[in-house]
């Protein structure tokens, strides 16, 4: 059998040869919610409401969504002023128009301009435009980000490497209910004549959350 470890420490305690702690095995009883998830899933399959293959396919669809989808939407908005108008009027329909299956998500696009910068957060849980950008980063779900970015957002942005001029109006958007948000960052200078594909490579996940700006053309 091929083996992906290079050590022969059967017990795997302490540090690995590369100097990292071993992750403990999950040898503990199921939590209440783990039991609930298994019970619900087994009931759905036993009653022939869903098949295991359908559940696996949905997990696969969720995992296949990635920030590149959002980057394509942003790049198109940079190139096509009429598309940008439609995106700002109804970001769900504009995303569907590009062929992205975003389900029933109600999406609002927030435009960064020369004097306004937008940032998204969900203080109550972890609402995120998953149907377009995929799963949120771990820090987005942390209590630290959720509690601090509504109170001292400029300090938080500085920790991400983004220092806003005092004259810039900062708008924080708390996804408290049925809407999800994506930031439409400002197009970087020096990109005249670029293709949509090339522009999309500059659009980072963080720039669509608002804790960063797009990459500069190098």
């Amino acid at each position: 059998m091929p083996h992906d470890h290079h050590d022969d420490d059967f017990h795997h305690h302490g540090m690995s040869p590369s100097g990292h702690p071993y992750r403990a095995d999950d040898d503990h009883p199921l939590t209440y919610w783990q039991t609930m998830e298994i019970a619900m899933r087994e009931l759905l399959t036993e009653k022939a409401i869903l098949t295991p293959a359908e559940i696996a396919a949905q997990i696969d669809a969720m995992d296949s969504r990635e920030p590149a989808n959002g980057a394509a939407v942003v790049a198109r908005a940079w190139m096509d002023p009429e598309f940008k108008s439609r995106l700002l009027a109804n970001a769900s329909d504009a995303s569907r128009e590009m062929g992205f299956d975003i389900g029933p998500m109600h999406l609002i696009a927030l435009e960064n301009t020369a004097d306004t910068h937008n940032v998204i957060v969900c203080t109550l849980c972890s609402c995120y435009p998953r149907n377009l950008l995929g799963l949120p980063p771990d820090w987005y779900k942390s209590r630290s980000y959720r509690s601090r970015v509504v109170k001292e957002p400029r300090k938080v942005l500085a920790e991400f490497g983004l220092s806003l001029p005092k004259g810039t109006t900062l708008r924080i958007h708390d996804s408290t209910a049925d809407m999800r948000y994506i930031v439409l960052p400002a197009r970087p200078k020096g990109t005249d004549g670029w293709s949509a594909e090339d522009l999309a490579t500059l659009v980072t996940r963080d720039s669509m959350i608002g804790v960063g700006v797009p990459k500069s053309p190098s």
């Binding site: 109600h106 203080t123 109550l124 509504v150 109170k151 957002p153 400029r154 005092k166 408290t176 209910a177």
Partner: protein, 92 residues
């Protein structure tokens, strides 16, 4: 220039139990309606499988100084949140 279309509202400062989507840090605070989002099922009932209660949902925009007072990091920065109509009271 005063905008006569701007509607100022206060978030009710009640503290009911349950699945509440109005953050505690905004209760009792005043802001203006940024846009109307239409009708959505009130999550305070939907979360418990109760009969649907459709409520108007709006985005309310607050100035940071109106949320945090003197502790605001930059007083004129803003915070927008979605609030259901039954949480709003008019400010005359």
């Amino acid at each position: 220039m005063a905008d006569t279309n701007v509607e100022t509202v206060r978030i009710k400062s009640m503290m009911p139990p349950g699945h509440i989507r109005t953050p505690a840090y905004l209760r009792g605070k005043c802001g203006v309606i940024e846009r109307n989002l239409g009708e959505f099922a009130n999550p305070e009932r939907a979360a418990y499988g109760l009969k649907k209660d459709m409520q108007t949902l709006v985005r309310v925009r607050f100035l940071m100084k109106d949320i945090w007072g003197d502790a605001a990091e930059n007083p004129e920065d803003t915070l927008d949140a979605e609030i259901y109509a039954h949480w709003l009271e008019k400010v005359s």
